[in-house]
């Protein structure tokens, strides 16, 4: 339900972003020294870059930081003290592509699931405002339409930016959290009938741009029958087993819990991990249930398109294309999905 719409000229975006940064951290698309777009915490409003498409680094770090302190501790003989970190500060994620918003939904599903909701995640999530951004052009490598995600869709956002003609953005306020941004947007004029019509037209155009969707049900069905297929050899052989795809995936959330120590002080931290690493499943005894890259490559696809859907009824892929761009061996998940979808008859194990 759209509460209100304001119009912000692109030249005034720094003013808007600067006001957003009052009292909260802001994660937004930025361009680094190499010209690479990455989601990064802003230290100045001008850093937010509106020419970025899908930044190489996803926004998941806002909710699942690369390093998250569960608690700190001090040890001495016979005594240990544990101190939890301070509560997370309010934060906003700015400029999320609708597929990145869908990715947040995936994370929400996993981390709020019973029997043990992930308290640190939920606390962070509760103080996070999501400001999405519509894209009227389809970004290269992005195949979210094939997964049913419309790049103009504002669903699940607290606020949403729609690009308008004459270098302007419309800011749609969609939730109470969005309305709480009032001090940042109230200086900008409300949208008139013409702009509202333009927004509606942009949405209509986007919806009309049809791409044949992937048959996710067929993919899930086929995956159940091809666990021992030769297909996995073709997928894993070029794969070098690095973590680029997983670390840059907006939904990949597997993590490790590690100790960071200095003398008798330390912290127990959550750090990113990936099913692509041999160490991920290796027991202390040396036994490893996922022995080779074949099992690990398979696990990644199965987790995204079968196990995840089984449990949470939502694919763990949003079609952002980051893994395609990042893969050093140029494995392409679109090709893999197509192949799985089109298996005329499921091969027998």
């Amino acid at each position: 339900m759209t509460k209100e719409i304001r119009i912000i000229p692109l030249t005034d975006m720094p003013a808007f972003v600067g006001a957003l940064m009052q009292g909260r951290k802001v994660l937004a698309p930025t361009r680094n020294d190499d010209g690479l777009c990455v989601f990064a915490w802003l230290s100045a409003p001008e850093q937010a870059d509106w020419t970025c498409g899908i930044p190489r680094v996803p926004p998941k770090q806002a909710l699942l930081p690369r390093t998250e302190v569960f608690f700190r501790y001090h040890r001495e003989k016979g005594k240990e003290t544990v101190s939890p970190p301070p509560p997370p500060e309010p934060q906003a994620v700015l400029g999320l592509h609708p597929c990145d918003v869908q990715a947040v939904k995936v994370l929400d599903a996993v981390f709020s699931a019973e029997p043990s909701p992930d308290q640190p995640y939920l606390e962070r999530r509760a103080v996070t405002t999501l400001i999405g951004r519509g894209f009227s052009e389809d970004e290269p490598l992005v195949f979210c339409r094939e997964l049913g995600i419309d790049p103009m869709d504002n669903r699940d956002c607290d606020a949403f930016l729609v690009p308008l003609a004459a270098n302007r953005m419309a800011l749609e306020i969609l939730t109470d959290k969005g309305a709480a941004l009032k001090p940042a947007y109230e200086r900008f004029p409300p949208a008139g009938a013409e702009d509202r019509a333009a927004i509606a037209e942009a949405r209509k155009l986007s919806q009309a741009r049809s791409t044949p969707p992937l048959d996710m049900a067929a993919i899930q069905r086929n995956l159940e029958t091809i666990f021992n297929s030769d297909l996995w050899n073709r997928i894993h052989e070029p794969c070098v087993g690095c973590g680029a795809c997983a670390f840059l995936c907006p939904t990949c959330h597997c993590f490790d819990i590690q100790e960071e120590t200095r003398g008798l002080d330390g912290a127990r931290v959550r750090v990113w991990d990936t099913c692509q690493f041999d160490l991920f499943t290796r027991h202390a005894s040396g036994h490893n249930p996922r022995t080779s890259q074949k099992e690990r490559s398979r696990q990644r696809i199965m987790h995204k398109f079968s196990y995840g859907v089984d449990r949470f009824h939502i694919p763990f892929c949003v079609g952002c294309g980051r893994c395609i761009a990042a893969c050093p061996a140029h494995n392409d998940v679109r090709q893999i999905l197509k192949e799985i979808q089109d298996l005329a008859k499921a091969e027998k194990p």
């Binding site: 390093t67 302190v69 970190p85 301070p86 960071e260 200095r262 002080d265 912290a267 931290v269």
Partner: protein
């Protein structure tokens, strides 16, 4: 930890070869030679045993300076350990210099079992050089920020 240089004392890790420098340190002690007490000593079987990783790890954990000391060329208990060490450390030194780690954070010496006085002098020089550099900030890990 205070960074006031007047209060601050450098912490130095010294890897000493069992067959020479470690005995040299012993001799310095027995001879009651004075030298700065800033080094913690790790006895190793040979300077060749010192993995460059040990040095990097020490710096990462916040040690301000590292000394590796072994036998003079030609005197290695295992014949060639110190020669191998010399090549390895030369490479490490090139690398650390090139990435911008201050000259003097990692130092090397040859001290024989008979050179108690040299050991005391090396310790004094190493300590002063590291003291002049100030605390190690470059490779040190800052226990995870929240």
């Amino acid at each position: 930890m205070s960074e006031q240089h007047s209060e601050w004392q450098p912490r130095i890790l010294a890897f000493l070869c069992n067959w020479c420098s470690y005995a040299g340190a012993d001799l310095a002690g027995v001879s009651r030679l004075q030298y700065p007490p800033n080094a913690r000593i790790v006895r190793v079987p040979c300077s060749g045993r010192v993995n460059p990783g040990y040095i990097l790890k020490a710096l990462q954990e916040g040690i301000d300076g590292v000394l590796v000391s072994g036998c003079h060329p030609g005197d290695c208990h295992y014949l060639t350990g110190n020669y191998h060490a010399r090549r390895k450390f030369r490479l490490l030194k090139e690398l650390l210099d090139f990435v911008g780690v201050e000259d003097g954070r990692v130092q090397f010496s040859w001290v024989s079992a008979a050179e108690g006085a040299k050991f005391a002098q090396v310790m004094a020089e190493v300590t002063e050089k590291v003291r002049a550099l100030g605390p190690n900030r470059r490779l040190a890990k800052h226990l995870v920020r929240i």
